[in-house]
């Protein structure tokens, strides 16, 4: 068996050895282990606030994952990715409030509609390259968010409030989205599955082709591949991931508002990815977890929390250009080289 990613096998099976062999995979397991540990502690303390905050961090982590798929893997900077996040949130809220209060129905409708909207927006945006793609992505999100902001049927600037909290049925048992611990675990598993799917895809020829497009798009056609198709599939996939993550938002908060599509949300997701480690996927979740909590905690002290986040972002870009995960992986590799 050949495996492109396997380094020469180290004899030891200790935790550090495993970390050094598949650092990103190990850090991914660590993320979900830490999340479970948090759930255990918060559950024992009967906490509500931090459960809700951590759930929100995971939901925005899903959006950040979709940004990293485009930015870190395909080389496309999506300045308006919140469009799909907000779209998923609105569709989910509409289904829950005016259709059936069913988690599965909401998710299915969001999956189908984000595929269609992603295809449409992708066909428009993927035509452009580099900064023009970024600007078209930004422009599309601006147009749609302003339209929603001015549409009375969608609640205009108030958004949709009073979204019923669904019971999420799994046949044998069900989870109440109103339960802080239950919904946190559900979102953790859901985001975990999205992460796992993307991480798997990145190890296939499809995922590797995206990396080829990122590093040298001009050579790709001469290898018999149409880069446009691959970029479109990545774009739709990112729309799905962002939309499905957004669909969880009204289940957590009971409302949606046009702000979910604003540049602030897109920008925050990009910052999460860069601080977490661009192109690592798991860095998007780490970045979202750390920064969402920071935004909230600093926000309780000062209304100028964006200022603090901005400074953190600059420090990160200057001193840790590969982000948290990139820094840890590089440090592990240095240790491996110096180890006997």
């Amino acid at each position: 068996m050949r495996d492109m990613t396997v380094d020469p096998v180290l004899p030891s099976t200790s935790v550090t050895a495993r970390l050094q062999r598949h650092p990103i995979r190990a850090l991914a397991w660590l993320f979900f282990a830490l999340a479970l540990l948090f759930a255990l502690v918060a559950g024992l303390k009967g906490d509500v606030f931090f459960f809700r905050l951590a759930t929100e961090a995971l939901i925005f982590g899903g959006l950040s994952l979709s940004v990293d798929l485009l930015l870190g893997r395909t080389g496309l900077l999506p300045l308006g990715q919140a469009l799909f996040f907000g779209f998923g949130a609105y569709v989910s809220a509409l289904v829950l409030k005016h259709g059936l209060p069913s988690f599965w129905l909401a998710m299915a409708v969001v999956l189908v509609t984000t595929t269609l909207v992603g295809l449409l927006a992708g066909v428009i945006a993927i035509r452009a390259k580099g900064v023009y793609f970024a600007l078209i992505s930004f422009g599309l999100a601006q147009v749609v968010s302003k339209a929603v902001f001015n549409t009375r049927e969608l609640g205009a600037s108030d958004g949709i409030i009073g979204v019923p909290v669904p019971q999420i049925s799994f046949g044998l048992f069900s989870v109440d989205a109103a339960s802080p611990a239950g919904f946190f675990l559900l979102v953790l598993i859901f985001i975990g599955i999205l992460y796992g799917l993307l991480a798997y895809l990145m190890e296939t020829p499809f995922g590797h082709q995206l990396a080829a497009i990122r590093t040298n798009e001009h050579r790709v056609p001469f290898l018999g591949v149409d880069p446009w198709r691959y970029k479109l599939v990545a774009f739709v996939l990112a729309a799905n991931v962002a939309g499905l993550s957004g669909a969880l938002y009204p289940m957590l908060r009971g409302f949606v508002s046009p702000e979910l599509m604003f540049f602030q949300v897109s920008g925050n997701a990009i910052i999460n990815v860069i601080v977490g480690g661009t192109g690592t996927l798991i860095g998007a979740l780490y970045g979202s977890a750390v920064l969402t909590v920071l935004r909230s905690v600093i926000g309780t002290f000062t209304a100028h929390h964006q200022l603090v986040i901005g400074v953190i972002f600059m420090i990160s870009v200057i001193f840790f250009p590969r982000g948290m995960i990139g820094y840890v992986v590089a440090a592990l590799e240095r240790r491996k080289e110096t180890a006997p």
Binding site: M4, E203, P205, A211, F222, G224
Partner: protein, 262 residues
């Protein structure tokens, strides 16, 4: 217009590539002006000419990088005129680049694997890379042939110039094309490396691969080629065997210039 259809007539059975009256204009500039020639199957056909003669543009027209304003490119019975580059490989035509054009941030092995993935015909696109056995076997062959065994996990950007040029050709060959377009393969090479590359090209032709070569090194072209096309100011000046071309007075004055009259 983009459909590949069979062209049964007028192309001799032994011509794998037939270019007729190919022309491209950039605004008022006619970069390539009504050039016609044929390349025979299993032969080395070379295009030479002074700087700015339109060699590279001709190359880009054949490989689909530039769409022609007029003329036809017939390859192995298929009309390739105006097809995008990503359709050329399916027809059996591959090219290398004058300025090394690799995935510099990716390892050597991955550069070759990406190129060899074509051999899987879209199979295993959503399975782990390790299950693309045909592609990986091809990578092993290329690595051995182009002596890159010790550089497999090296990033392509960290290779020496000579190694990058070898990898460039290996990548172009990975999908087993029937014809290889080589754009100045010895660009920037030492004399020894140039000789070695010449041997390698000869070896490829011996395996009945058809080769179209654009090259600056006239001595190399003359020693390698079965057929030489001389370009000058966007048009075809002459063609023939290396001896015929060398003896052509028009070629001597336009191209070899001082070297022949000195």
């Amino acid at each position: 217009m983009s459909a590949i259809h069979q062209v049964p007539t007028s192309v001799p059975a032994d011509a794998i590539l037939s270019v007729s009256d190919i022309t491209v204009r950039f605004g008022s500039l006619v970069a390539v002006d009504g050039v016609s020639f044929q390349a025979q199957r299993g032969h080395i056909t070379s295009v030479i000419g002074p700087n700015g003669a339109g060699k590279s543009t001709l190359f880009n027209l054949i490989s689909g990088a530039i769409e022609p304003s007029a003329g036809r490119v017939i390859f192995d019975g298929q009309d390739l005129t105006g097809l995008p580059p990503n359709r050329m490989l399916a027809a059996g035509l591959a090219r290398s680049f004058q300025i090394t054009n690799l995935f510099f941030e990716l390892p050597v092995r991955e550069n070759l694997r990406l190129a060899a993935q074509f051999l899987e015909h879209g199979r295993g696109l959503l399975r782990p890379v390790g299950s693309s056995r045909v592609a990986l076997q091809r990578v092993d062959e290329l690595v051995e042939r182009f002596r890159l065994e010790h550089k497999l996990n090296e990033l392509a950007g960290f290779l020496s110039h000579g190694e990058q040029r070898r990898l460039e050709i290996a990548v172009a060959l990975a999908a087993r094309p029937r014809m290889l377009l080589l754009d100045e393969p010895t660009q920037g090479m030492s004399h020894a490396d140039t000789q070695e590359t010449g041997e390698m090209i000869r070896g490829l032709a011996a395996e009945s691969l058809s080769i179209l070569l654009v090259e600056h090194d006239v001595d190399l072209v003359m020693s390698l080629s079965d057929h030489v096309v001389v370009m000058h100011q966007g048009g075809k000046l002459a063609e023939g065997t290396p001896q015929q071309v060398r003896g052509n007075p028009a070629v001597q004055s336009a191209y070899f210039g001082d070297a022949f009259h000195a």
